[in-house]
Symmetry: C2
Amino acid sequence: MSLNDAINTLQNHGYKMTHRRKAIIKYFSTSDGYRTAKDLYEHMEAKYTGISYDTVYRNLHLFHDLDILESTSLNAEKHFRINCGDHHHHHFICNLCGGTKKLNICPMDDIGTLLKNYTIDDHKFEVYGLCPSCKQAS
Amino acid sequence: MSLNDAINTLQNHGYKMTHRRKAIIKYFSTSDGYRTAKDLYEHMEAKYTGISYDTVYRNLHLFHDLDILESTSLNAEKHFRINCGDHHHHHFICNLCGGTKKLNICPMDDIGTLLKNYTIDDHKFEVYGLCPSCKQAS
DNA sequence: TTTACAAATCGTAACCATTACGATATACTA
DNA sequence: TAGTATATCGTAATGGTTACGATTTGTAAA
């Protein structure tokens, strides 16, 4: 999802476009990887001294609800990335830099009747390790 | 993993077998599902009034390190279950009761050369929803 | 442009899961 | 049964997250 798509989504839902919101979306839309609330806070703090955690978390939740961001839970901490938008896929996630790589396979294609009497709400497939550049650096 | 397997594992590694440890292992080995530290604490508190969080968390970590328990991170909270032990597989996890069902498919079988220059450390495939009994109850 | 007001942010405190540590109790070994 | 290393308790601290009254800001109407 691009910066403009995200801005449109916000405005179409009647939310105000603030400087902080634009900066948050910019932060995620220009980086292909998962970031924590703390990562975002520190990035924002540089430009908006004294920014409140309330602002950071409220907007992370809002953007997640609007599908501008997607999230995953790693080591009991939430991580966020810009929503890829295009058709369903999963990710490799680098343990060091949070960078991602798209994986165009989905195990649900093969789930068949394994969960016949179950209600399926969601699923997660993630591969963890080191991306080529972190691998080389370490 | 059975209660006895877990006790042997502990003793083979030189750890003491305490009443609390036995009760913790029993709690997990007799329930097929994911439980939080709080779930365990409340279960233990009934029998061992005033049990310390230190005891709960220290043993959860120890058991995890010894592969007696496996863990997953859901909604930024760690959940634990007894290690299944038999050959590699994944789980359906019920959003209400934490119960699990084994899924004998693994997307890594199809990963091919998708991550050629990457180091792969770990992966996760989980399906979430309602198990048949929670589905009926709700 | 200015005004008016709903919405967003700040400053800060509280909450919850988790970790940590000195003092005490317990399991195991000899 | 005694000695010692280890486990537990009691409690405080930490880190991520949530919450809220007071203030500021974006937007739309005048």
